[in-house]
Symmetry: D2
Subunit: 389 residues, 4 copies
């Protein structure tokens, strides 16, 4: 049976793609070697660099976000290099596994998946690395699996304090375009991004933003690479072209999405995400449930992972919400499987969509017989009314 | 500044057009004299007749709904004919004014705009019409300006009881496809419909469904007509064509919308509208506000008109809701201007969209300082959970 | 079996709707009583008036073009009024029949369907009308059924020479936006237009552009009217709204189409249509076939009707072209049925589309064994190359 | 100034994306971990395997076609492995360069870029490889830079004749879905494909189809890999999911495109491409120009590269065609730069689009003063009429 009305896609990405972006993509593909294409390319590079806050080159791959992880590594590192990864959650762990598959030696600093990366722990590891074997520090800005944010400036300061020359690589896949970020100001060497979250596109594009230091490192990086290679890419990009056929229609969408972010104004976009995250946490608290992130300052503005009371299945709950209210919520990943559900509140999203989302959660809790106090939605509404728009 | 997320179009029509319908319309126009077109035409006539519940011909005009009002009159009546109209609200009154402009003599039975048409009053008027000057009885099934429904079977019975031969014409513009209706079973002579409400299309198409009796009357109807004339239209429609260029892309959308209604199943569609109307009234009651319709049995399943407390402006409230929450609510019309606001809960709509809608109303009431009790949304959620989907 | 590639819709309207217009229409319907809507409405009225070349009001109906014919008549005339119509072809005749159905007395000046209207004949009829019973002169600017153009300035001069006060009404359905036209300069009292030809929209909108003189006439016009009534329409339009629900998504398309015409520049648009018509006639001549229009100065820039050699069926030929090359050509209407086929070369059209169109005709002639000389396409290409773009 | 009408995108890919595919992609992204997604995934894998003619797994990457080249290599080979590549043209050479960058040792058999791969030369190289150092033979089925086809069965037989165990890898990027191909029948170990040619999608997806033998090889392949790794991909694909976020909207398009190919019927699709290629060569011959492919049996059915007469610039010619006729033609690549132009006649294409394309070429030749005989279009039309559809 057909479900009436719009699906609520409240996983933490892909997000609800706005009509304007879909319609912009719904156009005939053009010659990727034409002047018209070059104009488009220049426009998206320009816009993307503003969102990333970088003055150096940005690279756009036709790939998922994990491609951009790989790209960051293969362009800067050599077989056997050590990389220091803080285990903020599932995605940090995945990144470290990818490093391992590529012939690098990841050092995974264990975390409890309930906070951002611990700058102190990173500093200690670097300080202990007298031989400077560690070539890169990898942190996930916003850990999508847990809803915990890492303070990148803190990491930067921690690295600087040790005087360690390792590159700093930051995964911003679920924060870019939703939370303040500045590659230049924070001196991030490689920023990794994707299209399908705050940038409001379907999945299919990923990004690297590259510092001078990372570019230098790439001259001597010995890992084999071709598709991901920055060198030819950056040289050809400068003219508005790509070394291989780009995903033209996705670039149409990206240009439109960047326009939309500018029309709203990035500070407004960030404030909106903050309001929605705050209201969501108020709701969770009102329900008497626990947020996965237990470090106050690390709460994510884009995704809230909610812990299920002992003895209750998050996946059974999510199934009820999907079947009954046509809303997709995020599942718990690896060790959090069935233990948390995740509410995505990012991208092209507004107060009434959030109200509908929280209503679906609250009604789902009731139908799934999950112990909770009603009233979370009402609490969120009060928060939304009281906080200035 | 751009508003993020989707606009909530909660006026009682045009409704939120589903993507499938928009995408179906987003196709090259075809030759309206081709076999491919004839297939399309046969398909939409077939489907439309099922929704109207009629075995006689349905006529589709490229026009707004008011064109279909005019069509019903000019095809069946002659200058100076009397038509009996029950004043359920703004739209009934408008229909009567149109009759007057066309050279007919409308008799408007006054109503207080807070209930459906009074079958007894209609019966009395007909009974008093010894000379059978009244040629048609016109009622609005669902009065969009007030949210009151008229029981068409009651009207039918009242007419039959008097033995009066007047035609029965029913405006279903804001009920068709959302509430049970059967032109055949209820012996309605002309059913008037439009595309932009329960049929989930943009505005631009209107309908007449015509009984045998109405067809007979049309043979002798002396009002001048050309564009609206059924005769040539029905003859040519039978072959899958139109006497003039049809609105082909709107017909694409209609075909898709009819498919969608069938995929959900009309009884399910009707039940869904009933659930949403019920939850909405629960919310209004919880807020301590008054619904415009004050006759229990006449509550509309597609639109709820809410009365503003004395001394408060409905339009000021609606402006706050629009500016702050990007939701359009319906305004009060003519004598209800600024006194009521109307919530449309029809078309392609689901529980979470309703929750978002009611949340916008409740937050708007707070921001506009309209005296009310919080908790309407919460009450509605409870109602939605408890009533089986 | 699916046909590959794009259909060639080379009937003389509806025309190939450009993607930009379809995509503009593929957007959620907005509240037709909102400020956003009023902006849209002002924009389309402004743009439409530029294309029509009128300073007085333009009226937009959700209807097919025949609705605008009816509107022109019912707003300005009274029962029994005489209207003088020159029979340029099928559509002029239809207009006259509509006048008749509405209670007017059309005087149809017979024509041979092979030229534009004869100004001299019109002048003679007016001069003979000592009692000034003729209230309107109706001419079709570009007769879509024959591909013959009427010189409106000639008609204007002929009327003026007689000193007759009749209104001048001009049907521009298949010329507007494709051929030079100026309601003000040519002192046309009512201009009739439609959306689905040079304006590049799907069918569903029609227009009236109204002179001061026509407005004055409308004060005393006694034909009954409501849907088509200018009075309320013009008053409400001034504020950016409509007396009944407008066809919002069609208006989105109209705004986009007007932008496109302006981006190309109307003089360029007109020149393009002229080049294509010229090249088409060169091809027809090269094939040794005859153009229906036999008056050199009256050749249409938007449609070419080609006469079939005696003993050959135009419809059989058209069917072969459709089945084999997926191209729709226009059929012969009423007395030209099966005797001519019509090539539409208007709207969003370019040289290569024309080449494909003429290629389809030439290959179809071969497959249908219609006597002709090959080489028409080649001749057209030479013409296109030689005439400056 | 805006160009009217549709752009003719006659580069040999990306091709003219059909509306149905664009519209299918123009839909909200869904949860890539939902049952609805799994249905979609199963459907596209099934359909893709039919087009490739393979019973083993097909892998779909969010990437351009060059990603699939890389994937074929890194999944099956180890550092220092030799790969034998026949230099059919630019793309074969690029593939060999990629192999080199990845740490493989390509042996490039030189070719003159005017024919398909020489099976005899490949056989000789393999026969001479007593140590079996060559691990893979790489050929491009349809060399997009030259319009020459390689007979894969011939290559297969040549390899088999030597008894050499090297894997056979075939790039079908510009042939898949346009020309007959069967990975199973021809015993191809890795087939490389892309979305933006015969599959009628925008660029952004690439494919590998994998034989049992290639799968076995992958168990011991030592090149580092993660994004491209088949192992996890194939395992997770079996359940309808992906190890990382897939390009969901591209998959919508792929599903639609596969439906379209089936509706037309693959044999009909192939025959259509053959007809169009034949007509194109007839035109080139009639113009007195030379086709780059000089081996009769190797003419491509999807792209025709035409040599410019000495002293004339292909790029100057292409610019005139673009500026004047809004058609994009393919440029000459690397050593063919400015020496050839390439006509793409593949994908969603029909007779009249081809006629328009050839008309644009012929008019461009005239405007660019390229010595040629007029009449190529006319010759092509005759060919199209005479060959059964």
């Amino acid at each position: 049976m057909r479900s009436a009305g719009r699906h609520f896609l409240q996983i933490p990405g892909p997000t609800n793609v706005p009509d304007r972006v879909l319609r912009a993509m719904d156009r005939p593909t053009i010659d990727h070697r034409s002047a018209e294409f070059a104009d488009l390319a220049h426009r998206v590079f320009e816009g993307l660099k503003e969102v990333v806050g970088c003055s150096g080159p940005a690279v756009i791959y036709p790939s998922s976000g994990s491609g951009a992880w790989e790209a960051a590594l293969v362009n800067t590192l050599s077989p056997g290099d050590e990389v220091l990864v803080y285990e903020t959650g599932h995605f940090a762990k995945q990144w470290s596994e990818i490093a391992s598959r590529l012939g690098l030696l990841p050092i995974l600093i264990p975390g409890d998946w309930r906070s951002g990366a611990d700058a102190q722990a990173i500093a200690e590891n670097l300080a202990a690395d007298g031989e400077r074997s560690i070539k890169a520090v990898c942190v996930v800005h916003n850990e999508t699996s847990t809803g915990c944010v890492t303070s990148v400036p803190d990491i930067r300061r921690a690295i600087d304090a040790t005087g360690h020359p390792a590159l700093l690589m930051v995964d911003t896949i679920s924060s870019l375009g939703s939370m303040p970020y500045s590659a230049d100001e924070w001196q991030v060497d490689v920023t990794i991004g994707g299209s399908q979250k705050g940038l409001m596109l379907p999945p299919g594009l990923s990004f690297n933003a590259v510092s001078e230091k990372a570019l230098s490192a790439s001259k001597h990086a010995a890992l084999p690479k071709s598709y991901w290679s920055w060198e030819e890419m950056i040289a050809i990009n400068a003219k508005g072209f790509f070394p291989y056929t780009p995903a033209t229609n996705m670039l149409y969408g990206l240009a439109e999405a960047l326009d939309m972010l500018n029309e709203e104004g990035l500070p407004n976009v960030f404030a909106r995400h903050g309001r929605h995250a705050g209201a969501t946490r108020h709701a969770v608290e009102a329900w008497g449930l626990e947020v996965q992130c237990n470090n106050l300052g690390d709460f994510s503005n884009t995704v809230t992972a909610v812990r299920m009371p002992e003895g209750h299945s998050a996946d059974a709950f999510r199934k009820i919400v999907l079947d009954r209210f046509d809303m997709s919520l995020g599942n718990g990943l690896s060790k959090l499987a069935d233990k948390v559900f995740r509410i995505g509140h990012l991208g092209d999203f507004n107060d009434l969509m959030l109200a509908g989302t929280l209503a679906g959660v609250e009604m789902g809790l009731a139908l799934a017989n999950v112990p909770h106090r009603p009233g979370g939605v009402q609490t969120a509404l009060t928060a939304l009314v009281n906080e200035s728009a």
